[in-house]
């Protein structure tokens, strides 16, 4: 029994709460100085293998998921619940009674109490009337004693604040359990139904297929990006069921899953467009989308060729060449054409001219795909929290006891006024003095 009450005392102490606030803050801090969630090889290059091992062992590389960070949070919740449950009966009594009597309260000698004796020139009944004007309706009343309580209902606000923290944490747990966060790149024109979890890069199968129809970056006049726009289609059973432009700040939610514009880029090009001209009749023979390194037929005199980029292009030189079927290398030449920004790039072999008109590069869009399950629980908890904080802070519970004793002739009354606030504010004492002054003026 003694052991149990000791444990109980440990878990409801505010000192423990203070320790936990500091500990959680301190570990959170560590996580902002050491980058979280990088890959092992990145960590090894930053820290070197030894320090990497120490940090890994300490859990500093995934601190917010470490056993001790979660452990501290659990401890905080236990602390919060135990403390609340322990003092709750006390609060219930303060709000609903039975309220302590004047004498009990005097014997307590609360350091917060304000006390004053006032002589009234009126009888008890009339004196009570004036007191009620000043303190409001009494919560309990006997022949010679009055008890007033102001803002008592707000004594529950801290409990509601504590409860809201639990609601938020429940929301977070449900969200982690039933939701996911993932990321994937989609090439323009392609589709996918797989995305990769942010936390461990494992694939998740989506309940639908996403196709990226188009990607576009818009710019302000001075070249700063204004918006990144991906046009996506949602495909279910081979049928497109929804089409939408997504942008940063404007995601699209379908079937509980939200798709966010997160990043963009283009893959390294693998295809060049070549025009093949026959010099003999000056005719455009063919347009070829030449995949790098693959053998093609030029359509003139049975010429076969490959388009090959240099592995290490020299500066100022054209970074690709043509290799013919007979292993001969053709270099490209540049002919200034119309203006300098649009030169003609070509290679020539007998009657065949290869005109280079650019590479074909594929844009991709990086999208975050998230199932944000149960976030409404988190928002609900947050709203309750903010409201409860407000009512905790700005409504001070004040209890006032008045003991009346009438003189023998019943014409005069002596009052002992004792007032105790929940929070010891200077303004409470100022206000108390003001009320006493008023009472003296009205009854003295």
């Amino acid at each position: 029994m003694k052991m149990l009450s000791k444990i109980n005392k440990f878990f409801c102490s505010v000192k423990l709460a203070i320790f936990l606030f500091i500990a959680i803050a301190a570990f959170s801090m560590v996580g902002t100085f050491i980058n979280q969630g990088d890959t092992t090889s990145q960590y090894r290059t930053i820290f070197g293998p030894e320090i990497y091992h120490i940090l890994y062992w300490l859990g500093f590389l995934n601190i917010y998921g470490s056993w001790y960070f979660i452990g501290l949070t659990v401890l905080l919740i236990v602390n919060l619940v135990t403390a609340s449950v322990n003092i709750f009966p006390h609060t219930l009594k303060a709000v609903f009674g039975p309220y302590p009597s004047f004498k009990e309260m005097m014997d307590k000698k609360s350091p917060k109490a304000a006390y004053e004796v006032v002589e009234s020139k009126k009888n008890i009944e009339e004196t009570k009337k004036v007191l009620n004007e000043k303190f409001g309706k009494p919560f309990s009343e006997t022949e010679t004693e009055l008890y007033y309580s102001k803002n008592s209902i707000f004594r529950f606000s801290p409990y509601i604040a504590h409860l809201s923290i639990i609601i938020i944490i429940i929301g977070v747990i449900l969200n982690v359990k039933y939701g996911f966060r993932s990321y994937t790149n989609i090439k323009v024109g392609e589709k996918t139904d797989v995305s990769y979890l942010t936390k461990n890069q494992k694939p998740v199968k989506l309940p639908f297929t996403i196709r990226l129809d188009n990607y576009q970056t818009k710019y302000y006049k001075d070249g700063i990006p204004k918006s990144y726009i991906s046009k996506i289609s949602i495909i279910k059973n081979h049928v497109s069921v929804a089409e939408k432009n997504i942008e940063v700040n404007h995601p699209f939610t379908y079937g509980g899953i939200t798709i966010y514009q997160a990043s963009y880029g283009h893959y390294r090009p693998t295809v060049a467009k070549l025009l093949i001209v026959n010099l003999k009749n000056r005719k455009l023979e063919k347009a070829v989308y030449a995949e790098f390194g693959k053998l093609y037929d030029a359509g003139i005199n049975n010429i076969k060729f490959r388009f090959i980029p240099y592995k290490r292009p020299k500066r100022g030189e054209i970074p690709f060449f043509i290799e013919l079927g007979n292993k001969r290398i053709l270099k490209f030449n540049v002919l200034p054409y119309k203006n300098k920004s649009m030169p003609l790039i070509f290679a020539k072999y007998h009657d065949a001219v290869f005109l280079y008109t650019g590479v074909k590069s594929y844009y991709y869009s990086g999208v975050e795909i998230t199932k944000n399950a149960y976030t409404s629980v988190i928002w609900l908890g947050s709203i309750i929290l903010i409201t409860a904080l407000f009512f905790s802070f700005f409504f001070n519970h004040v209890e006032t006891w008045v003991k009346l004793s009438g003189s023998k002739d019943g014409k005069k009354t002596s009052m002992e006024i004792l007032s105790v606030p929940k929070k010891k504010f200077e303004s409470f004492y100022k206000n108390f003095d003001k009320i006493i002054a008023k009472i003296k003026k009205d009854l003295g």
Binding site: K226, N249, P251, T370, T375, E426
Partner: protein
């Protein structure tokens, strides 16, 4: 250096002018501390209000300018804008406190902090004053609510810092006789109550600001919480002030310890506000797509 022409158009000139008003006000409050002359803080307060009006006008000019050059969201995100807004909010907070409490002694700390912020904004090359288009991640009306609530809380914490310092000066000199300006300070218990009230006011707004930020992240970037440095530091700030309100229930934690938490709390706020952007990115130079900018 930008030309006077542009700075008049985009409003930054008026912020620089307001800096001189705030500095003049600071000088007055400073002299007041040494002389105790009661008319000086009245003049200082008047000058401060004039500076505040100029700043208000400057904001209007700047927002209209931004709108005219085709930026839909008000300019609040740059280091420059957030610094001047910070100065604005803490001056506003002081004006409110000064109306309700007789707190002239607080003036010198508030005007000092505001002058530093304004001077940094006006003259530091780290904080160019040109109005830049908003990057896509920030084009959202969440931004305004998010920043406004957080700045109200920062302003309150700035004021509580000033009050904490006053409390510590006062309690540090309790045993010594005389003291030229001790008598000018309000009694310790009044400062103590003011520290609590200002902090809990800030805490309500800080909580709201964090929640709004989380809701924004949820609706824009793929999740309500990502543990990025800014978010994490806002949580640390929040924990510091939650600690403050609970420390009162701990036996033996008097006003002095509470005043210290108020002072330390503001250091955490400043780190969350500036340190994260100026120091942490240097430590690990990474930029996650969509990571939170200033704020």
């Amino acid at each position: 250096m930008i030309s006077a022409n542009v700075s008049a158009l985009d409003g930054s000139l008026y912020f620089t002018i307001s800096l001189f008003f705030v500095l003049a006000s600071f000088a007055g409050y400073f002299i007041f501390l040494f002389t105790g002359n009661k008319t000086i803080p009245k003049v200082s307060f008047g000058i401060l209000i004039a500076g505040f009006i100029i700043q208000t006008a400057a904001f209007v000019v700047r927002w209209i300018y931004a709108y005219k050059i085709g930026i839909d969201t008000p300019p609040l995100v740059d280091l420059y804008d957030s610094m001047v807004f910070f100065a604005y909010v803490i001056i506003f907070g002081f004006i409110l406190i000064r109306i309700f409490y007789d707190f002239d002694a607080l003036g010198f700390i508030i005007t000092l902090v505001a002058s530093l912020a304004l001077a940094f904004a006006s003259f530091s090359p780290l904080a160019p004053s040109a109005v830049e288009p908003t990057i896509p991640a920030l084009q959202s009306y969440w931004l305004i609510y998010h920043i406004m609530t957080l700045f109200v809380s920062y302003g309150a914490f700035g004021a509580s810092f000033g009050l904490g310092i006053l409390y510590l000066i006062k309690s540090g000199r309790k045993n010594k006789t005389g003291g030229w300006f001790l008598n000018l300070l309000p009694p310790s218990n009044i400062i103590e109550e003011a520290i609590y009230k200002v902090i809990v006011f800030g805490l309500v707004f800080l909580t709201a600001g964090i929640v709004i930020g989380a809701a924004w992240a949820d609706s824009a970037w793929g999740g309500y919480w990502s543990w990025d440095p800014k978010e994490t530091w806002s949580l640390i700030t929040w924990l510091t002030y939650i600690l403050f309100i609970h420390a009162r229930f701990t036996k033996g934690w008097g006003g002095k310890k509470m005043a210290w938490i108020a002072v330390i709390g503001f250091a955490v706020v400043i780190f969350c506000y500036l340190g994260v952007d100026l120091i942490l990115p240097g430590l690990h130079s990474y930029a996650t797509p969509g990571s939170t900018p200033i704020l």
